[in-house]
């Protein structure tokens, strides 16, 4: 298998998976590089059967390693680690798309931030399925292949992820209401 071709074909998917795996927006580019460094190193050992599943597991391990390092940094009490991030981590377009109004833009940003906060509270497995299905547009079958699990497992995780997400959202809204009361 040719590394360059694999990179061309799969980079965008890997970049999406990093988000589903909970990688902060600011770190995804570096993490994508780490993933493909590992891919290049291990390509000759790959059996070629499930490219998506293989790449996903590499991405998952890199995100895990990254989280552990951040945990060390936290224990040190030092460097400021990213807050919630800016949502999808989109690239800044050369020419910014017109926004309806500053207020609408602010509200959209707040909604993205709230979404990221809520999904950060989900377990890794549920968060991944929720984002891959609800946001990134993968089908259940595609997710089953990426995660290397049966299709029914995908639907079960999605069911639980939605329930957890709604519970967290209800709690967040209740907190907001409580904060508004005098």
């Amino acid at each position: 298998m040719d590394f360059a071709a694999l990179y061309d074909e799969w980079f965008d998917d890997v970049y999406r998976w990093l988000r589903a795996l909970g990688a902060p927006a600011a770190d995804r580019e570096d993490l994508a590089q780490e993933v493909f460094l590992v891919v290049r190193r291990r390509l000759h050992d790959f059996d070629g059967r499930n490219v998506a599943g293989w790449l996903y597991q590499i991405a998952r391990r890199q995100v895990l390693r990254h989280k552990r390092l951040r945990w060390v940094q936290r224990v040190l009490g030092g460097s400021a680690i990213e807050s919630v991030g800016d949502g999808a981590g989109q690239e800044m377009p050369l020419q910014a798309a017109p926004t309806p109004s500053p207020l609408a833009a602010l509200e959209a940003k707040e909604r993205r931030a709230l979404f990221e906060t809520l999904v950060a509270g989900l377990s890794e497995k549920r968060r991944a399925v929720l984002i891959l299905f609800e946001l990134e547009g993968y089908t259940g079958e595609e997710i089953a292949e990426i995660l290397d699990v049966p299709l029914n497992t995908v639907w079960t995780r999605l069911h639980h992820a939605r329930r957890d997400f709604l519970t967290a959202l209800a709690r967040a809204r209740a907190d907001e209401e409580g904060g508004r009361r005098p």
């Binding site: 994508a32 590089q33 939605r162 709604l166």
Partner: protein, 245 residues
Amino acid sequence: MRRFVEQAFSERSLEADAAELMRAAGPTPDAPAVKQRVRERLVQAPARRRPHFVLALASALAALALGTAAAATVGARWWRAAHDTTGPAARPAPPPLPAPRLAPVDHRVDFPVPVPAEEARLPAEVPAAARPAPAPPPAIARAASHARPARPVGPYADAETGLLFESTRALRRDRDPVRAGALLDEYFRRYPHGTVSEEALAVAIEAAVARNDPRAPTFARRYLARYPNGQFRNAAERALGGLSK
């Protein structure tokens, strides 16, 4: 199954609110500029990854800081034990606290510093000054005060690592192994296969030993079963050995 954003929910329902958030978050757009930048960096990168200096330095600092804290904890225990004339003298000493593996404060112990093996290449020697022998309380207090985070910790990377960090802080900074144990129980309930579960189990062993919890060997055995070659294996084995005596 239909996606949330494709469904029609009644207005002001929680589901409609959730769908709105998902719409706002949106899919990750293709990032051709990122793809190109990463491609160029890959071309320049050597085939074998070199140890990252910054990461190695962070690991070393973490080990040193936590090592000092662990030494302070061990020293404080020693001091209390030496001066505790009212307590049960025959009480067996608890097994040693885990201490930073990378900063050999006490050769018997291992602290669960979550340093990936690849990043655990440190300067060959830790300065002698960083290896305090059992010291009298004033020195211990100074060491502990330097080792603690100087300011409150802000938002965590995510809820899972936040919970683990809170439990570690309860154990090490607040010296409250009971609270640490409760937080860790919550961690294992919420994240039975979490991304930092290896570290959580290592901290759980330490907390259980500190509060003389009979579950300590259970945690240790669970650690060894899950991570037979884990980086905190020695600590788990020592916990088992210490408790079996």
